[in-house]
């Protein structure tokens, strides 16, 4: 987690393509929560990760709120893309879920988290075109980054710890 937070605040927050697009890759930490974790610890870890990013960016509560939201819905999202008969403990990834479902899963997670993030950041919601553009393009960028990392780091039939 510390590594992802540092990556986010030292490097990724400096990226601002066309003034709109910022990848929020620290979400990867929440995406990879394994399904044996209790709901409480998921929520707490989500909150703490968000708050840690907030601490560096001077936006108290912004990342904490959106990361907690993502942590809350993570188990439901995993369930949505996992076939019904599977009940074992998994770390969401290409190996455990299959390439297609995993891509769908990270896309929905990213969209949820980024929508919350950019909506909260843009209050009062004035310029809908800009806000939508920020959500759509940042979601795409983070999604592609996660896809790339997920595909190279997570070889099939291999367990990795986070």
């Amino acid at each position: 987690m510390a590594g992802l937070v540092l990556l986010q605040v030292l490097f990724l927050n400096r990226i601002s393509l066309f003034g709109y697009v910022t990848p929020l890759f620290y979400l990867w930490f929440i995406v990879r929560f394994d399904s044996s974790m209790s709901r409480y610890s998921m929520l707490l870890w989500g909150f703490v990760t968000g708050l840690a990013v907030d601490f560096f960016t001077g936006t108290p509560g912004l990342n904490a709120a959106s990361a907690t939201l993502a942590a809350m819905f993570q188990p439901a999202m995993v369930k949505l893309f996992l076939s019904k008969d599977r009940r074992e403990v998994i770390i969401p990834g290409r190996a455990s879920m299959g390439a297609g479902p995993f891509a769908g899963y990270i896309f929905l997670m990213t969209m949820l988290h980024h929508s919350a993030y950019f909506l909260l950041r843009s209050i009062p919601l004035e310029d809908w075109v800009v806000i939508t553009a920020k959500i759509v393009f940042s979601t795409l960028l983070t999604f592609i980054a996660m896809l790339a990392v997920g595909y190279s780091a997570d070889k099939p039939n291999q367990r990795r710890s986070i």
């Binding site: 540092l6 605040v9 030292l10 601002s16 003034g19 209790s38 709901r39 409480y40 929520l43 707490l44 909150f47 968000g50 708050l51 907030d54 601490f55 560096f56 001077g58 936006t59 108290p60 509560g61 912004l62 904490a64 709120a65 907690t68 939201l69 809350m72 909260l120 209050i123």
Partner: protein
């Protein structure tokens, strides 16, 4: 009753979720501007070290440009030194007071509506609220909150920033303000109707406030509009400083004349 308790026990994490979202939103919207800035400065006491690493690494990138800028400034200063060596300016230096403090920019943004800059000097270095910040190219902003070792600067690119300035060589003043959007342009408002100003003129600080000495460059006039309602001019200025590329800055740590302060009273 039993089933209700069971249900609540199973859904208890929802309560935790609501609690933590409430806490986050309270942090996000419940804090006023000063508390938010206090969060930033206290946060910077912890994160400052890390942000400093980043600034240190980034300072290697673009060293060539930085060097050229310093050489240009050096040449300019040398020229000024020659022309001023026998005038009053040197008197102040010879009093042994250091007038400007050099600080490193460790965090900066230009793309938000209200941008802030963090520098690695604070009260222990003599930096205090209300002091002007500029670099070799021109005006950057004014110190908003000074922590013990770090300070947050309200740059020109913030809707709350307002800096007194004038057309170089004239004496009618206006206020440099910014309304979001283009990080390379700002407005000078409230300039008297009769001011002689045209495209290409240089805007400099007025020296009427204690934040900046007189004649620190601000930018070049791009467009002049007459505001018929208020009989003032609205001047669009192309800023000299590229706010997205800040590394080292000067803070005007010269103490304002106590007599002047007394006359003007607390703000």
């Amino acid at each position: 009753m039993r089933s209700l308790l069971d249900f609540l026990a199973k859904q208890a994490h929802v309560l935790l979720f609501i609690l933590m979202e409430a806490l986050s939103l309270l942090l996000l919207f419940g804090l006023n501007d000063r508390q938010r800035l206090a969060f930033m400065t206290s946060a910077n006491r912890l994160s400052g070290t890390v942000l400093e690493w980043r600034a240190r690494v980034e300072s290697y990138i673009g060293l060539k440009g930085e060097n050229e800028r310093l050489l240009t400034e050096n040449a300019y200063l040398r020229e000024r030194l020659l022309s001023l060596s026998d005038s009053l300016e040197l008197e102040r230096v010879s009093q042994g007071e250091s007038v400007f403090t050099v600080a490193r920019v460790i965090d900066n943004s230009v793309r938000k509506d209200d941008n802030f800059i963090t520098i690695d000097k604070g009260r222990s270095d003599g930096v205090d609220q209300g002091m002007g910040v500029f670099d070799s190219r021109g005006v950057i902003g004014v110190v908003e909150v000074a922590g013990s070792h770090y300070s947050v600067v309200l740059p020109v690119l913030n809707s709350k920033s307002s800096i007194s300035c004038k057309v170089s060589g004239s004496s009618s003043i206006g206020f440099l303000e910014w309304r979001g959007g283009d990080p390379y342009r700002a407005m000078v408002n409230d300039m008297p109707y009769h001011t002689v100003v045209s495209t290409g003129d240089t805007i400099v600080t007025s020296g009427y406030s204690s934040a900046f000495p007189e004649n620190i460059p601000v930018g070049v006039v791009e467009r002049v509009e007459q505001q018929r309602m208020s009989y003032t001019l609205a001047v669009t200025v192309s800023l000299f400083v590229d706010m997205s590329d800040l590394r080292w800055v000067y803070v005007n740590t010269m103490k304002p004349d106590p007599e002047l302060e007394e006359l003007e009273g607390p703000e």
